[in-house]
């Protein structure tokens, strides 16, 4: 139903798509696989009319078409779920769906009609959502449903999903896959963009691998390849999907959390009495579905959120309620999940961002002024040591890729040689190469004797890194298990609130639906 022939797209200094051929059949899930910057998103933006190709042609149902703008694509039955949701946070679900469509009651809106149809479509495709809810009230998973509903509402026969699971929990991803299969049974075609190998293998009918803007491989039978095969095609070399790790040799406890209670943004309790211990030389992983108190827990430890009750002992000092600076001084460092909001300042340069936390350090000062030379040296050293790919130290970090920004943040926090390290979603949205590197550094940090707390919604990541795994659900720790005894299935159950042994509740029940 869709055919791309020799698509070329140039950006200043970059050849994003270099003669790409691609084909999608009705009823098929065809995955585009590649690292960040391989050209997947660019290619799909061309199909959706957001970019114009410099060469090549697009055929829909065998006819050559010109797609100048998204409305052209929509008219051709092409829908797209963007990686960054194209939703207006302050509008309702129905308004977001109705936007851009002709109202039956012009010039007034016909939101009741739209809402009715949303409910209908939701039932048919397993995408339940309240049409009158305002977007900002919804979880990430629910927002994605709205995006898909937007496309279905416009009768999309071909749906492009750009990294749809990057923001989803395993349960939400499973639900999404069910929905996608329902859609292909209908004869719709789906282009799936991802770099999560496990789900690509599980979901795809066909896989096309891109690297540096070129097609470097096609897999017609996904059952015949392994994750390692795909990773090799993507990166162009052998990749370790899990870091080499010697058994942990934990020392004394460095971080002890006792009876911690923390409120969330809306004033309700998000962390409801957590006890947790992280010893020097071990990695403790916090697994859980998004929105179960992970962010509040991390922010409380980092001093960004004042706990309501409880103790946070770093060594023997209770830092609960202390300022971030005091907590830094106590030897705690924090890699925030909000990379572009809390982790880095997008408009600041690489050198400036590397200095953010330590700008008061006498090493970088000469009287009241900054010591430019010391700062530059510091920046140059870290950029080299942590392999941050940047045109220069004076490049604003907003021009770097997600993986490189994250490497920069990791560099900054690890260079302080902390006693306790909190890493929240350390590789979310980061390419395999960078993730591999960050994982290795975290393990190295553990081996140096640091107490490392990794918070991730990606169970694969937890399983790859952690020595002990704590599962969080509704602000409480369900259980803590040793990595050696951990079982993916059992962890999934606990993430939905079920206790091992009780066995009754199913993982899907939680679904990340209600926050």
């Amino acid at each position: 139903m869709l055919e791309l022939r020799g698509i070329v797209k140039r950006f200043p200094g970059v050849l994003a798509n270099d003669g790409i051929d691609f084909e999608l059949l009705p009823g098929e899930i065809h995955t585009l696989l590649g690292e960040n910057g391989a050209g997947k998103s660019t290619l799909m933006k061309i199909v959706y009319g957001l970019y114009r190709p410099d060469a090549g042609e697009i055929l829909v149902d065998g006819t050559r078409v010109d797609i100048h703008r998204p409305t052209d694509a929509i008219e051709l039955g092409i829908g797209m779920v963007h990686q960054h949701f194209m939703l207006v946070d302050t509008l309702t679900v129905a308004e977001n769906v109705a936007m851009g469509l002709r109202s039956s009651r012009r010039p007034l809106t016909d939101l009741d009609v739209v809402a009715e149809r949303i409910v209908e479509l939701g039932e048919r495709f397993g995408l339940p959502v309240d049409p009158h809810a305002v977007i900002w009230q919804l979880s990430v998973g629910q927002r994605q449903r709205v995006e898909i509903l937007k496309a279905l509402y416009r009768d999309a026969r071909l749906l492009i999903l750009d990294e749809p699971t990057a923001v989803l929990t395993p349960q939400e991803a499973d639900q999404l896959f069910d929905t996608l299969r329902t859609m292909t049974e209908d004869g719709r075609g789906i282009i799936f963009i991802s770099h999560k190998l496990r789900e690509v293998l599980a979901l795809s009918d066909r896989i096309t691998v891109l690297r540096h803007g070129k097609v470097v491989g096609e897999v017609d039978d996904p059952t015949a390849v392994t994750r390692e095969d795909l990773a090799r095609m993507m990166v162009g070399r052998d990749v370790k999907l899990a870091p080499d790790k010697a058994p942990a040799r934990p020392g004394p406890a460095r971080l002890r959390v006792r009876g911690l209670r923390v409120h969330g943004d809306r004033g309700t309790e998000a962390v409801s009495g957590i006890d947790l211990e992280v010893r020097g030389g071990e990695i403790v992983g916090i697994a859980g579905v998004s929105g179960n108190g992970q962010r509040e827990l991390a922010e409380a430890i980092a001093g960004l959120r004042r706990p309501v009750a409880g103790e946070i002992l770093v060594g023997e000092v209770d830092v609960a309620g202390s300022s971030p600076a005091e907590i830094h001084a106590a030897g705690v460092r924090y890699i925030s999940e909000a990379r572009m909001r809390e982790g880095a300042i997008p408009g600041f340069t690489v050198a400036e961002n590397l200095l953010l936390v330590d700008h008061g350090d006498p090493r970088f000062r000469r009287g009241v002024l900054f010591d430019d030379r010391a700062i530059e040296e510091h920046g140059r050293r870290l950029v080299a040591e942590y392999r941050v790919k940047t045109p220069g130290l004076d490049t604003p970090v907003e021009h770097l890729s997600g993986g490189n920004i994250q490497k920069l943040i990791v560099a900054r926090e690890l260079s302080a040689r902390p006693d306790v390290l909190i890493a929240a979603q350390p590789t979310r949205g980061v390419d395999i190469g960078a993730a591999e590197y960050i994982h290795a550094r975290l393990v190295e940090e553990r081996d140096r004797g640091t107490a490392v707390l990794v918070i991730s919604e990606d169970l694969d990541e937890i399983l790859a890194l952690a020595d002990r795994i704590a599962v969080i659900y509704e602000g409480r720790i369900v259980d803590v298990v040793d990595r050696a005894e951990a079982d993916r299935e059992v962890l999934g159950l606990m993430m939905a609130g079920g206790h091992p042994g009780s066995g009754g509740e199913t993982a899907a029940a939680a679904g990340g639906a209600a926050r």
Binding site: F11, Y48, L50, Y51, R52, R69, P70, T71, I74, M80, H82, F85, M86, L87, V88, D89, T90, L91, E95, N96, A98, M99, G100, L101, S103, R106, P107, L108, T109, K150
Partner: protein
């Protein structure tokens, strides 16, 4: 002392506050449309000044106050389109270009006044139109229902604006474009068209506000608006981008001004405090701004030009 609380004084203070609020309300409502769609127009005062001169000059020459208001409105529309061209099509820095429009309006309105009129000459004002029935209610009728049609019109525009913003597809597009223009663009809503429309509405209402001010005062003078256009912009923040809030802000500002004047006239505020009291409206507005506006978020795309990539 009993006559200090004379009805006439209270009525004058309230009615005066309402009158002072009208230009701010009109201009503020217009600015609300622009800002809800993500365009910050700081040139409101310049547009008001040119609207004021155009309205004044029309009445001076032709003698018809409604024609004067209409000409002010048309001049506002032209300047609105110019503003839209600068901030939407060219994607200019909106703060700077707005100041440019202000200076342009300030200079040109004065130049035209010097060349075409010279010495201030009085013109007719809008006739007062008592609303039958309501205007004969004691006190209340006097305060609220014996104004000119422009005053009623300005206040009727409040529910009209609320309706347009919340119940029409146009209003929905305005809100979408002001929050997330990429999202609106991705489903085929023309960000440029919506913003042109809102900035045009802003220009029309600013031009009207200026003309209403000049014709109501029956006079024109250099810098007649005395920065009311900037206060109108502040009131949009004060009103948390909601027409009702803008109305509340305009009324508060007008009433504080007229009440302070009244208190000074009666000697209740001693003359030595006079200059400090003159700052009261600004201070109260800023305080309210700090207290009220903190609870609301501004349109996420405010003052950010939208230019689609490649």
């Amino acid at each position: 002392m009993s006559d200090l609380l004379d009805q006439a004084i209270v009525v004058t203070a309230i009615a005066g506050g309402i009158r002072l609020a009208v230009p701010l309300l009109l201009a503020g409502l217009g600015e609300t449309f622009g800002q809800r769609s993500g365009v910050l127009n700081l040139g409101v005062d310049g547009i008001m000044l040119l609207g004021a001169f155009a309205g004044y000059y029309t009445v001076l020459q032709i003698g018809n106050v409604w024609l004067g208001l209409a000409v002010g409105l048309v001049v506002g529309a032209v300047l609105g389109l110019a503003t839209a061209f600068i901030s939407v099509t060219l994607g200019a820095e909106q703060g700077i270009s707005g100041i440019g429009v202000y200076l342009f309006g300030l200079g040109l309105s004065d130049l035209l006044f010097q060349k075409l009129v010279g010495t201030p000459r009085p013109i007719d004002s809008f006739p007062r139109v008592p609303i039958p029935g309501l205007s004969s209610i004691p006190v209340v009728g006097e305060m609220f229902f014996r104004h000119s049609l422009v005053v009623y019109l300005a206040f009727l525009l409040v529910p009209a604006s609320i309706f347009v913003i919340n119940r029409t597809t146009f209003g929905m597009n305005i809100r979408a474009v002001g929050e997330n223009p990429e999202a609106a663009d991705s489903v085929g809503v023309s960000v440029a068209r919506v913003r042109y429309a809102t900035v045009l509405i802003g220009g029309v209402l600013a031009g009207m506000a200026g003309a209403a001010l000049a014709i109501d005062l029956g006079i024109f003078q250099q810098n007649l608006t005395n920065a009311q256009g900037f206060i109108a912009v502040a009131l949009v923040y004060f009103g948390a981008w909601r027409p009702l809030g803008v109305m509340g802000g305009a009324l508060l500002y007008g009433l504080v001004n007229s009440v302070v004047l009244q208190l000074k006239t009666l000697g209740i505020i001693p003359r030595s405090w006079s200059d400090i009291a003159a700052m009261a409206p600004a201070v109260i507005t800023i305080l309210a701004l700090v207290l009220v506006a903190r609870r609301f978020r501004q349109p996420a795309a405010l003052a950010k030009p939208f230019l689609r990539e490649a």
